[in-house]
């Protein structure tokens, strides 16, 4: 199901689009027609000079972009950095109000409480006492309205909707305390003299404590969204645009597609694009977790939000607004933070019936004390019922899972690990086997020429130059490695004619009128060429995970060019880390067994699945799952998408800038396999944290409610003071949030190693 969720532009709905690909003024009409054809659009105007379109109407900007794309142009919505300041200001104002309400409630409640403790307050039976208590009742009413009004309106509104929530409990608890106390103050004679006690101070102090607790909780919660704030903060507010040869600073939302931007040393790169002039090193650690700066030159992609370190460069924008990598990361983290793993389902089921259940328990408590309780019965009935209502805390239960998921997912994002949803977060910690794709996962995925073995009468340079001429036309990754190696050594390669690829074997071409063959031993055998003593060397190279290729000229073997895909330097330590936490590590590859075994030996994986065609990789995952393994699959997310989707948790690795890989449950922005171990560690820590929270919340409620109801009274004469219940209730959700916040300090082993 596709769904869109977005903030609506505040005024009438006006959307600004950047349009690329408009070459002539005639295109303006095409784009305008396309936009006007979208249902809901009231007006669309294209500015050809600015290459922008302004569209008004109640319409989804994504539909607009699609309409322009369908018409044959490129488009993106222009949007500024999300403004968090406003939200923070609103939250701070709310926090201040809660504190103010708490203080006012305490100013009424605390003197009353201390006074009665010290025995300074007058008895209700005297006329003077009655006046005093009626005044106290008035002050408490003021507290209930000013500081506790939101509980009462909330409870009432929920009631009308057949709902009950925390407000219901607090309103009933404090409201009944006030009503009873007022009744006693006005007509002291209707209750026995022992029961002539007013509970105004309890009502006021409970309101004070709960507001204070909410304020603390709010503070603590602010920290849980730190990860998102950090990501949003990466976006600069302005960009330096080169227009008509002049440079000017413009707000980010004014930057369109295919514009030229200048970035100077120490500046943040505003949006995504490709370098067209200059070079520099760029710190991408904030997005990928990769600590070392990356060298960038003409033709390289740069990503918005990353930091330019040393050089000045010009780049052309490719993605703006909501399409940038950073915006997508923010979106993905947000969505994941709001999703819930299975572990939270039980708590959800319980919290759905929680409040009405507590109301029923309160009624039962009331009846039990009425029927069985000692005198003064009416006081005990009131106190126990009130305490049950106040101590029950649905918040802690409801918050236990989501708040930990929020912090855990955010923490992962800080390490360049993007977790798609709560389910993936939970599953990652339960994996028993991790299957690693070889190319691009364990290895760098960029084959290079590692050895040149010339036959007698040849030298390395001639061998490589000739191999490169044959391969120049080929698109095979091995061919690219050969051509690149020749170029690096500045060898001039003669032009080849009659290029022909022989699938699975190699290539054939004519160079300077002489037939040349380049490929594996089978190609040589089929052509009747004797490779002689080179076969031994070829076997050795294959055993060292390289792919040896023979070059033959005019029917005579000229030598071996060996190409290998180097293993990432930290693959071995990452595999060891996975094994150390008890995971079985397997490798799957389409390569031949010899090469696969050689790589496996070097990184130390437990099992090798070689010569597996890409389309069969997912079958290997199914086989493991049938054996009862919970399988994580790590790959590039493109060739092995089916396997990633089949696995219990699919990891897409080192995709750098492509974050929206649908088949992956977890995207590792950093190319290192350590990301897998990190993700598992974060998952385990988060699930542990959730369990602590759930356990705490369950225990709190299952112990607190019976004690509040007075279950201990028959045995120990122990009753809970309703004010203590208020304090406990206020603290329980703060505790849950604070416990989740501990995840922010989670340290991971071998970070960046």
């Amino acid at each position: 199901m596709s769904a869109q969720a977005h903030a609506v532009a505040e005024k009438t709905d006006t959307h600004r689009l950047s349009i690329a690909g408009m070459t002539c003024a005639g295109c303006v009409a095409n784009v305008e027609n396309a936009l006007n054809g979208v249902p809901g659009v009231t007006a669309a105007a294209v500015n050809f000079a600015e290459h922008t379109a302004t569209v008004t109407g109640d319409v989804d900007p994504k539909t607009l972009v699609q309409a322009v794309v369908d018409a044959g142009y490129e488009a993106a919505e222009m949007r500024g950095p999300q403004d968090e300041a406003e939200k923070e200001a609103a939250e701070f104002a709310h926090y201040r109000r809660l504190l103010r309400q708490a203080v006012v409630a305490a100013l009424v409640g605390v003197p009353l409480y201390l006074g009665s403790l010290a025995g300074l307050l007058p008895e209700l039976s005297t006329v003077g006492g009655q006046v005093f208590w009626l005044l106290a009742g008035g002050a408490t009413l003021f507290v209930l309205v000013y500081a506790g009004g939101h509980f009462f309106t909330g409870a009432w509104k929920a009631f009308l909707n057949h709902g009950a929530n925390m407000d219901t409990l607090i309103a009933l608890g404090t409201g009944s305390a006030w009503m009873y106390s007022m009744l006693v103050a006005v007509f002291p004679d209707i209750v026995p003299s022992l029961a002539r006690h007013a509970y105004f101070e309890a009502a006021a102090i409970i309101i004070a404590l709960i507001n204070f607790g909410s304020a603390l909780e709010m503070r603590a919660r602010g920290k849980t969204s730190e990860a998102i704030r950090r990501l949003i903060g990466l976006q600069p507010k302005t960009a330096r645009v080169v227009r008509n040869g002049k440079e000017l600073d413009v707000p980010l939302e004014e930057v369109g597609l295919e514009e030229t931007l200048r970035v100077r040393p120490g500046e943040k790169i505003p949006v995504d694009g490709v370098i067209i002039d200059g070079h520099s090193s760029v710190d991408e650690s904030m997005l990928t977790g990769e600590p070392l700066p990356v060298e960038k030159a003409i033709g390289d992609e740069v990503v918005g939000g990353t930091l330019n370190k040393t050089g000045t460069f010009l780049f052309q924008t490719k993605h703006v607004g909501g399409d940038t990598v950073l915006a997508q990361i923010i979106e993905m983290v947000r969505t994941a933070q709001n999703s819930k793993p299975a572990i939270g389902r039980l708590a959800d089921k319980i919290s759905a019936v929680f409040v009405p259940t507590v109301l029923i328990i309160a009624v039962i408590t009331f009846l039990a004390w009425f029927n069985l309780g000692p005198e003064p019965r009416i006081s005990y009935m009131l106190v126990t019922t009130m305490t049950v209502l106040i101590i029950a805390c649905p918040c802690a239960l409801g918050l236990a899972t989501p708040i930990s998921v929020m912090v855990g997912v955010g923490r992962a994002a800080g390490y360049g690990i993007l977790i798609r949803n709560g389910e993936a977060l939970q599953q990652a910690g339960r994996l028993t086997t991790v299957v690693l794709d070889k190319t691009g996962t364990i290895t760098q995925g960029r084959p290079t020429v590692t050895s040149l073995v010339p036959a007698p009468g040849w030298d390395e340079q001639r061998l490589l130059a000739l191999a490169a001429s044959v391969e120049t036309g080929s698109e095979h990754p091995l061919a690219e490695a050969v051509v690149a190696a020749a170029k690096e050594k500045k060898l001039s390669s003669p032009t080849a004619q009659g290029f022909e690829a022989i699938a699975g074997h190699g290539v054939r071409a004519t160079v300077e009128g002489v037939p040349v063959l380049f490929g594996n031993d089978k190609l040589m055998r089929d052509a009747g060429i004797d490779v002689g003593g080179l076969a031994q060397r070829a076997a050795e190279l294959a055993a060292a995970a390289a792919t040896p290729m023979y070059l033959a000229r005019a029917g005579q073997v000229a030598g071996i060019v060996a190409v290998a895909d180097p293993i990432k330097p930290d693959s071995r330590s990452a595999v060891e880390r996975l094994q150390a936490i008890g995971l079985k590590v397997a490798m799957v590859t389409g390569d031949n067994r010899a090469t696969a075994e050689a790589v496996a030996r070097q990184v130390g994986v437990d099992e090798v699945m070689a010569e597996v065609l890409p389309q069969h990789k997912s079958e290997k995952i199914v086989e493991l799952q049938r054996k009862g393994e919970i399988v994580g699959m790590v790959g590039d997310g493109i060739n092995d998408a089916p396997a990633l989707a089949q696995a219990d948790v699919g990891f897409a690795i080192g995709t750098g800038t492509d974050v929206a890989i649908e088949s992956a449950d977890i995207t590792l922005m950093r190319g290192s396999l350590h990301g897998v171990a990190d993700a598992v560690a974060i998952s385990k820590a988060t699930v542990r944290n959730i369990k602590q929270n759930l356990f705490g919340a369950f225990i709190y409620n299952t112990l607190g409610i019976p004690v509040a109801a007075g279950m201990l009274y028959p045995f120990f004469g122990l009753l809970l003071n309703p004010m203590i219940a208020g304090a406990a209730m206020a603290m329980s959700s703060v505790t849950v949030v604070s416990n989740a916040n501990r995840l922010r300090w989670l340290k991971l082993g071998k970070q960046g190693a």
Partner: protein, 124 residues
């Protein structure tokens, strides 16, 4: 006599709690799906709390959050895997096409705010 009255009253109130909160549902507001449906988020409730929409037709729910407390910040549709962060005082649209008929709950993060989307098949 008074003993009996209090006990019976207590039992009746238990019955009322069960009936009001569990057995009866607020009346669903039927809405035309071609316009955004406004839902006010305030005082612990979504207003309207029950919305009836036809299956297979795109709907847009426009949430207007007036409650600044963090409880109201998120809205989650577990059945559809949709979530949103609601800004205070500004409308926020969630658009999707519900396919499966039935009652789908939407809640805040802690499930204190609760609403439900009733998806009806076209013929019923």
């Amino acid at each position: 006599m008074s003993v009996l009255l209090v006990n019976v009253g207590g039992l009746i109130s238990i019955g009322l709690i069960v009936w009001w909160f569990w057995l009866s549902k607020p009346r669903a507001r039927k809405v035309q799906a071609d316009r955004p449906i406004e839902i006010i988020v305030e005082n612990g409730v979504y207003t309207p709390p029950r919305i009836e929409v036809p299956a297979g037709k795109p709907v847009t729910l426009r949430f207007i959050r007036k409650d600044p407390s963090p409880c109201a910040e998120k809205v989650l549709f577990d059945d559809f895997g949709i979530s949103g962060d609601l800004p205070v005082g500004k409308p926020y649209d969630i658009s999707f096409t519900p396919q499966e008929p039935g009652e789908h709950e939407f809640t805040c993060q802690m499930r204190m705010y609760r609403g439900s989307l009733v998806v009806r098949t076209a013929d019923s």
